[in-house]
Amino acid sequence: MSAYERVKQWNTFARIWHIYDAKWQNPFDSAKVISKHIQGLHKPIYHPLNNCGDHVIVFNSRHIALPGYEWKKRAYFHHTGYPGGASWTLAWQLHEINPTLVMQKAVKWELPRGLSKFGLMARLHIFPDEEIPEELLKNVTSQLRQLRPVPRTLDSYSDKEIEEFPKVMDYPNDYILK
């Protein structure tokens, strides 16, 4: 086996660590991408009995974005098992309690049903902010592309940039600026 073939073999069977910035990303769209990498579905050697999944570190999960009014429309159901033990927690209430749970549940729902979920979820590491432990961060060799561009607020532009931006509308002659 040549040196090139050997390194190719190592790279094929190595467990890669991906990093994903969840800032302004939809967790349910991101979960489809993340779950594929956790299972190893993106690899040509994938087989359900082949343990070839990768690790994914998700950070900034506190700053995920949901479309429209979904923060108050999406409800998470839980039942304690006792009569009258049903409860519905809205997404924004769950996110206030734990800013990683919406992301974690989204990935969990994307994974195949069965006991393999528990082993696969152990490869997902979610952090609410930008602080990631150093021992995890030094494994990272790959970054997953963000699905949506992070929008810029109007305050982030300088006055000069706003002034020099092409204008689509001009004021009429007699309009008094307010």
């Binding site: 302004w24 109007l154 931006f165 689509v168 002659n173 008094i176």
Partner: protein, 161 residues
Amino acid sequence: MMNIHGLTKTLASRSFQSVSVGRNIHVTATSFLKQIVEQKQGKTLTIEAVYQPSPRSSTLIKLPEVEDKECCSLCKLDLPIKHTDVLILSQFLRSDGCMLSRRVTKLCSKQQMRMSNLVSMAQKAGLMSKLNPRNSKKNPKLRYGEKKFNNYWDESLMRPL
């Protein structure tokens, strides 16, 4: 002899600006729309009020190929505007965050409705939080309940033009 054509017009449109020396008394509210120009040719003194160019006149988009079309400025440009394009949307707003009226924007009713919907989307997403009334929360993170978290909007669900 005195040409008062421009002067009467100035008084009627309640805009008055004095640039010549010794004219510091304002009869009406100042809005600096017009500039009073005094020209003396021989024995004839001409006092004229000239409209000042708008602050946007230098950066206004002018496309010669669509200039003849009889439609509003946005229909001419045919831009796919999203709610994240705050530099475009803020052009339709006053400094207190209110939408400019159709008399000022000169848009057709469909575009005006679409722009005001996009502006409200951008405001809900917290992208133009400084362009707001004085008593509103400037920092979106301090809003109440579900409003303090990031959200985005899908323009493909809007009514097509």
